[in-house]
């Protein structure tokens, strides 16, 4: 199945893209999706401890299973205001 991945802030700069479509096995967890996204970009993997994930615009645990067509955002610490 495929999911849409969005990157923001410094993660967007590190990834060189703001969004991409990623193929993952059915039922993959957000953790596994992030590992896949980081494979080609070791720099991204270093930020694992200082980012949070969102699934379909809600903050989500790393252990959240995905379904086809999900939108997953990887978000650095927020600094609005």
């Amino acid at each position: 199945m495929t999911v849409k991945v969005l990157y923001f802030g410094r993660l967007k700069e590190l990834s060189g893209t703001s969004e991409e479509i990623v193929e993952v096995p059915d039922g993959a967890l957000i953790e596994e999706l992030f590992a896949r996204c980081s494979t080609a970009r070791p720099e991204l993997g270093k930020f694992r401890a200082s980012l949070v994930a969102a699934r379909n615009r809600e903050f989500a645990a790393w252990s959240t299973p995905l379904i086809a067509g999900d939108e997953v955002g990887f978000l650095p610490p927020v600094s609005g205001g």
Partner: protein
């Protein structure tokens, strides 16, 4: 999430925020208090002279989170109306980056709700600030939003 109150104004914008208009918009004859918060661009950060800022957002999620804040302060503080507007893009020194206005019958509710709104926005709304200095740029230190608890790993896989 409850339906947004029709008089509320929750937006992100790339244009200058109309602060006075927002403060007027929450005003009603039933209320005795309007509290506002004007977050504006400072000319220095950690001792370095700031030239300008750039804000970016996960816009759809940012709006959803700002609407959630509005719903929370309606429910918890009994306020009448709220406006929360955050600006994106390049901002110059002195410009407003975020403006919040709330109206309530009495001052305590208005002030407390306004404080809660800006504090919660800074922790939960997916917006990012990049600070530009004469000798480079940095993403501002931020706060990691709270996320739901992880599923215990002992739980059997569903497949």
């Amino acid at each position: 999430m409850p339906a947004p109150h029709s008089e509320d104004r929750i937006e992100v914008t790339r244009a200058a925020i109309p602060n006075a208009e927002l403060a007027r918009q929450v005003r009603t004859d039933e209320d005795g208090a309007i509290a506002t918060f004007d977050g504006c661009v400072r000319n220095q950060s950690h001792g370095r002279k700031t030239l300008y800022l750039e804000y970016e957002a996960y816009e759809a999620m940012a709006l959803a989170k700002m609407q959630a804040i509005a719903a929370q302060i309606h429910a918890n503080y009994g306020i009448r109306r709220v406006a929360i507007v955050h600006r994106l893009g390049r901002l110059e020194i002195g410009e407003t980056s975020v403006f919040i206005a709330v109206s309530a019958a009495h001052r305590a509710a208005a002030l407390d709700a306004c404080r809660y709104a800006i504090d919660t926005l800074k922790k939960t709304v997916p917006i990012w600030k990049k600070e530009f200095f004469a000798d480079g740029a940095v993403w501002a230190d931020g706060e990691l939003p709270p996320v739901p608890a992880e599923t215990p790993t002992a739980e059997p896989a569903s497949n």
